[in-house]
Subunit: 251 residues, 2 copies
Amino acid sequence: MLILLTNDDGIRAPGIAAALRVLRRLGEVVVVAPETVQSATGHGITLHGPLRTWGVRVDDQTVGTSVEGRPADCVKLAVNALLPRRPDLVVSGINAGANVGINVIYSGTVAAAIEAAFLGLPAVAWSLLLDQTLPDFDHAAELCLESLQRLMKRGIRGGEVWSVNVPAIRAPERPSGFVAARQCTRPWDDTFEKRIDPRGGAYYWNTAKFKLHEQDDDTDVAKLRDGYVTATPLQFDLTDRRLMGIAAGEL
Amino acid sequence: MLILLTNDDGIRAPGIAAALRVLRRLGEVVVVAPETVQSATGHGITLHGPLRTWGVRVDDQTVGTSVEGRPADCVKLAVNALLPRRPDLVVSGINAGANVGINVIYSGTVAAAIEAAFLGLPAVAWSLLLDQTLPDFDHAAELCLESLQRLMKRGIRGGEVWSVNVPAIRAPERPSGFVAARQCTRPWDDTFEKRIDPRGGAYYWNTAKFKLHEQDDDTDVAKLRDGYVTATPLQFDLTDRRLMGIAAGEL
């Protein structure tokens, strides 16, 4: 089994090394990941500049390729130019921070997995909820692997994307369970703080904090809040079928 | 009517000025757009740095606000901190280049409109297909306005996003018609060209070209190829309902 591993926190992030350690049990893992942190870059790609690459040691067994680009660039470049053959699976993560609810849309981690699915590959995105203490990526990686094995048992096909989120627990704590959950679509409570620089220019900080609010109980946000490992199947056909049905034909 | 106008080509792009000219006929237009070109940045947002702002003259009647950030940042900032009240409509564009098919996912123009819909506002993204000759943004703006008036006649509600694409025609040419069309989900044919720099380092250029290939006839790609102004309703709930149905409950 050939696995492509990428992320959005950059090739030197602890989450990708933890993912590498558990994925090795399933087969050969090739790491192609951004050279720099790409959090919240969404599904950007690089068309008007070149993608520079470097060999970077990820751990004592693996030298990966870092790419001066976005997570989705890494997947495109790896699949079309770097890998010896099409991978059997693409994994993106482990992201430092949950990608549930509307954050799915902002997430570079999820974008990399969606890019893989465009290309007809089976893909998973792995993200770890953070709290105020040091994250346990090794424990999260074990839980991600367990979720992957459950998905593989039911079958994960080319073009499918599953976004997996792990609660902020530490070994030997167990999650409340493993559940499939739909994406919550409530917006953030956006807030901005205005400041004036020493020369009189204005600037703003986005001060919104993502919170696991009370939400409908069947959503990824609610299930993660309640200590579950969640898996949300995602699509890249953005057509709103309900509106499409109303509008079909002549506008 | 208060209209927020943004884009991803930057506040100085000709497309946004053309959009401004036609939108003025509907009401008051406030322009808040990126300071720099943000093409293919997808749905990125800025959390770890400040959003610097400037006043920029868009035309002889309007001074807009430029934001050192992404298109989605502009919408968040405008709605939550800059506008006197919630806008009645958010328009993003006119983008220099079509946003049909899978490009919808990469597009900053579309991301801005989707961000507005998150926030519960009605939103449209406007994009113009380019060919080898100089684009006629003024003519495109008239057609965009016509599509908007058709959408408004049937009613466009808060939370709805319509991505409109205009064929590469020039005044006084008319489009083949105005149609609602679903998003085509075929991937690009990605190709990369490897080069070696003078010091021996490797870099790659993404050499994929977006073409209006033969596609299923009911898609945005096919309809735009055939000279129609297309309108595609988009959603931001990425949950794959078919897989969700299979997977419901315990993973």
